[in-house]
Symmetry: C2
Subunit: 287 residues, 2 copies
């Protein structure tokens, strides 16, 4: 069957696959200095934000991504007080981070318009933007980390787009070196690391770049994400000093806030890598 | 963008979403007594089999489904010797089951043409069809289990299609009662149970039907499956007598055969249900 104009389609370049969402109407469109921002009302996924035609967030399934970008790293750090988010313009990750007793969260998003549009069309994701612990800055995250004070953060969350265009630098060893410097002793970094099925090569390159930058332990977590390429996504976590395989499981079990995907058992399970990925990472790390 | 005729598209009815795979050409099509069987050469997913226009199997991602339909249940049973597969016409599950030291596997597929076409176009999945331990039967699985000798199997694997049309009966309490009777003491059943994101209601109904039929413990496992609706799939496991939360982890760690997705840690991780599903199952089981 062919899909008509009532559908939004994202073709996953080089993967010979595409996902489509049924659209009721377009609610907003604008060209920001950086990209084309569009908001759609879908049939069953609630609202959809696309940037340059790529799915960023839908009401229906964003909870998995945002919870898995925040709670695993925060329950791995013994006492996260100062958090830096690079990217994250829709503010969903920020909202999850602020459920923890952190002291300050600085979010550095390149495109202020993404955040302003999210505030208008995704109010639930932006519900904590006025939390006194949140500082929203609109600037280049790569430059920000270069200029940042050494040892100023416990956790860095890299919530950027695909490694093409301006976000490509967010996957480089040079960037990770600056992140390492910016972290306090015991500090942790986590970054979105694409699809285990489609982008295993990128995950391996990211492990290599993080280790090359001086991070001591690197672990990938995986989780479903319906509207991202292949429906399967990952985040890669690394520690400035110690291991990141263990976490505060007791605190995660007794968490004082609601989640829809994350819990302590899910955290442990997300660290269990498929055999093919484990084998590829083992070969890569022994080379 | 709109996709042209170079794409195969499956619309996920009622979910307002669709997946498309780039197609090079159609290799085969026929109308069997039960359904329309088509084989396609895709751009990057290898070969694709569809039944009545729905994706059944692709070369690229079938390993996850077939491994998760077989190894968790077989490593949960203490000593599986006699296995019954209902459905499973592409023979991928059968191939995985035969990696274990089982004595006999009976596969009951309704549509012989699905198996014959799979033998021709998916030789890797059918590589064990001539194993002397395998018995291929072409008949109605629901009737087969009704007629089966009591206590004749250790494990039943229900590898059917979506719960519409002839496969709907594979999700009913009446069917599960016959399965229970067919199982030996300590016997286990596992059935594919659709998408946690799209079909949580079906998963709950399946738990209820299995418990209603007399199964003592019911657990759902989840895993990614790119080309099935939402890219996220599940299997639901139940025991005739005891718990199914524990498994032979040491044997799984020391498995003597290769897998690409499954391993002992992945098995444990697949049992860790997302918070929303756990909450819904908790509410449903207390009603």
């Amino acid at each position: 069957m062919a899909l008509d104009s009532r559908w939004f389609t994202e073709e996953w370049a080089e993967q010979g696959a595409a996902i489509s969402l049924e659209i009721k109407r377009k609610l907003h469109e604008e060209q920001s200095p950086y990209q084309r921002i569009e908001i759609w009302e879908t049939g069953t996924f609630g609202r959809l934000m696309t940037l340059d035609g790529l799915v960023m967030v839908t009401d229906r399934d964003n909870f998995i991504y945002h919870e898995m970008m925040s709670h695993p790293v925060l329950f791995t750090h013994p006492k996260p007080e100062s958090v830096l988010i690079i990217g994250g313009g829709d503010c969903g990750t920020l909202h999850e981070v602020l459920k923890h007793p952190v002291k300050q969260v600085t979010q550095v998003e390149l495109d202020e318009r993404v955040t302003r549009v999210a505030e208008q069309f995704f109010p639930a994701l932006c519900a904590s933007n006025n939390d006194p612990r949140a500082r929203l800055r609109f600037a280049d995250g790569i430059q920000w980390v270069k200029d940042a004070e050494a040892g100023s953060h416990d956790v860095i969350i890299v919530d950027g787009t695909d490694p093409i265009g301006p976000a490509a630098g967010l996957f480089s060893e040079a960037f990770y070196k600056n992140c390492l410097r910016t972290l306090r002793p015991g500090g942790l970094i986590v970054g979105q690391s694409e699809s285990p099925l489609f982008h295993a090569g990128l995950i391996m390159a990211m492990h290599q770049a993080l280790r090359g930058a001086g991070f001591k332990d690197v672990q990938t977590l995986h989780f479903p994400q319906c509207t991202y390429p292949s429906g399967w996504w990952s985040a890669t976590l690394a520690g400035k000093n110690g291991s990141v395989a263990n976490f505060r499981a007791q605190d995660a079990r007794n968490k004082t806030f609601a989640t829809r995907y994350y819990n302590a058992a899910v955290h442990q399970g997300a660290l269990a890598l498929p055999e093919f990925l484990q084998n590829q990472l083992r070969v890569a790390s022994s080379e």
